[in-house]
């Protein structure tokens, strides 16, 4: 049983270990040394914010808030705007989550509520292994296997059946937002599944037994007792998945097509913030060009920071509710 607050598991440790009056000089040196290394972590995060802000300054000064709403990207005239990259990031992540959330929640329900006990371990292992595959390999597979499959049949079918919607118009390239969204779904399924599995596991059995005693079916038990009980944990899991999707770089860069355009069509090639940085940073020259790419990195950092803090708080609330009940 893991617990976030040292207080609740080991009151003994608190008295005998941390705050005993007896303290040697060497002990103080050692504990302060560990403190220094812990502060290195804090320093890295602060340094990251400061350095990125300073490096982005040329672009921030030049474009101001217009950077967020402009859609030009012209290194020759040194005019830069982030809108297509922000749009591409949000769009591909949204597609990814729309595909991944039902699959992940279904898989988590299967792992916690339905799977026979001999299958639970191996099935969890398989899904966690999916999380361990490096993103460049998923990108490689995406480029050579998924993209041709997305071009036809998926995009040609969607185009012929739902072509009246602007979302599904245009020539089927294969590479583009749709392929990037599917790849992102594959990459976030393991994390959403694992975190929501842990949240569902934390639901006390009494909840399920009470529903069964009322004559509910298994699905009704899951739907009305289990899922509402761990709702904040599930939302936290989804937001953690969102954080991962927003920052994912390699696999997306390999399948999104890297064109800087603002179109409604899911079939068209595009770019995300991360893919823009990955494909242009090493060739960039000049303060404003580099500054614009760093400002993109800063925007990505700020967005993932907010998303991760929100997810962390929700997951924490869930686990602390559980700890308080025990």
């Amino acid at each position: 049983m893991k617990c976030n607050d040292a207080n609740t598991i080991s009151p003994g440790r608190m008295r005998s270990w941390r705050f005993s009056g007896y303290s040697r000089y060497s002990d103080r040196i050692f504990s302060n040394l560990t403190l220094v290394f812990a502060l290195v972590i804090v320093g890295i995060l602060l340094g990251l914010v400061v350095v990125l802000t300073i490096d982005a300054m040329p672009a921030i000064r030049r474009f101001g808030l217009a950077f967020l709403s402009s859609s030009t990207w012209d290194p020759v005239r040194e005019a830069f705007g982030a809108l297509p990259a922000i749009y591409g990031t949000l769009l591909s992540s949204a597609i990814g989550l729309i595909i991944a959330v039902p699959i992940s929640l279904g898989a988590a329900i299967f792992l916690v509520e339905l799977a026979p006990s001999w299958l639970k371990g191996p099935a969890s292992l398989v899904i966690e292994m999916l999380a361990a595959i490096p993103s460049v390999i998923i990108g490689l597979w995406g480029l050579f296997v998924l993209v041709p499959f997305v071009r036809s049949p998926i995009e040609s079918w969607l185009g012929s059946k739902l072509g009246f919607l602007p979302l599904f118009q245009g020539p089927p390239f294969g590479v583009g937002f749709l392929a990037a969204g599917i790849i992102l779904a594959i990459m976030v399924i393991p994390i959403i599944t694992a975190v929501s599995r842990d949240a569902m596991r934390a639901v006390p059995n009494e909840q399920r037994e009470a529903m069964f005693a009322l004559g509910a079916t298994r699905w009704e038990t899951i739907r009305q007792a289990v899922l509402p009980y761990c709702r904040s944990g599930l939302v936290g899991a989804i937001i953690l998945g969102l954080g991962r999707a927003l920052g994912e770089t390699m696999a997306v860069t390999m399948v999104i097509g890297n064109s800087y355009a603002l179109t409604a069509s899911l079939f068209s090639p595009g770019a995300t913030i991360a893919s823009k940085i990955a494909s242009e940073f090493s060739e960039a020259s000049g303060g404003v060009f580099i500054g614009s790419l760093v400002e993109l990195a800063l925007i990505l950092f700020a967005v993932t920071l907010l998303v991760n803090v929100a997810a962390r708080l929700l997951v924490w609330r869930m686990t602390s509710v559980k700890a308080a009940k025990e």
Binding site: A6, A115, S135
Partner: protein, 280 residues
């Protein structure tokens, strides 16, 4: 809902449970597809030249990724050398010395750092190492990988240390040794399996990282030239070759992917096996 007919509820139940099972099956199918394709394509493209030869310029058939394999090894070692002391000591601080409030704050920061996209870490490493030294370098890539590794090592070390029972701490103190000797001599060894597990998982993670290497390690046609020069890396070369228009290079990308998957999943499986055995 309860006023619906019994049969209807029963069938709805079956359909929904079936869908959940299908979702889990789909997750496993995706893994099988990716692994199966990578392994079968990779093994077909793998040969001795791939392991023992350097990359050939465009147009010449053959060549391999020897330098990139060595490069990845060097970068992982370099990243670990930088990250391990920081991660371990921070983990010891969190588990043994921090006040509850201080621990919560540092833990929160570590979790935030773990969530920073790796491409952003790459931009940061470029700014603090590459630019001041006026050269892409193995060192800058090592710094980037270390920043990714530190929070993982710190959090897993902390969790393993917390699993060491308090009686061990009390027993150590009862021998009259100082606390730091107790930590170094008794508690850390007691948590060693867990700590090693965390380190290995972090190694598996950084071995496959590509995004932070693009503008730190850069890649090198001349093999390994030292810590302050550009260096090739396996994931980076897979990316370059996959995006190239040459079928021969694309074949080599698959062979590289095969090696990388073997390395990363091999570490994960061994680690899981060790930690499961330790728990039983």
């Amino acid at each position: 809902m309860l006023e619906r007919g019994y049969l209807q509820r029963k069938w709805f139940n079956r359909i929904m449970l079936g869908l959940c099972g299908g979702a889990a099956g789909l997750g496993m199918l995706i893994l099988a597809l990716i692994l199966g394709y990578t392994l079968s394509h990779g093994i077909a493209a793998l040969n001795i030249d791939f392991l023992t030869q350097a990359a050939k310029p465009v147009g010449e058939v053959g060549g391999g990724m020897r330098n990139e394999i060595i490069g990845t090894f060097i970068l992982v070692v370099l990243g670990s050398i930088i990250a391990l002391p920081v991660g371990l000591m921070a983990g010891i601080f969190l588990a043994e010395f921090a006040s509850p409030r201080g621990a919560a704050a540092v833990r929160f920061i570590a979790d935030i750092l773990a969530g920073v996209p790796s491409i952003v870490v790459g931009v940061f490493a470029y700014a603090i190492v590459v630019r001041p030294m006026h050269s892409y370098s193995a060192l800058s890539a090592g710094v980037a990988l270390a920043i990714i590794m530190i929070p993982i090592v710190a959090r897993t070390a902390e969790e393993s240390l917390r699993l060491v029972p308090n009686s061990m701490r009390e027993a150590a103190l009862a021998l009259g040794i100082t606390r730091w000797r107790a930590v170094v001599g008794v508690i850390v060894p007691g948590a060693l399996t867990g700590i090693i597990t965390g380190v290995m998982l972090a190694v598996a993670r950084i071995a496959g990282e590509t995004a932070p290497l693009i503008f730190t390690a850069l890649g090198s046609q001349f093999g390994v030239q030292g810590f302050l020069k550009p260096i090739g890396a396996l994931p980076l070369q897979i990316f370059r070759y996959a995006m190239s228009p040459y079928p021969d290079w694309q074949q080599q990308a698959w062979a590289g992917a095969f090696l990388l998957v073997l390395l990363v999943l091999g570490i994960s499986i061994v680690v899981r096996w060790i930690s499961n055995r330790g728990r039983m």
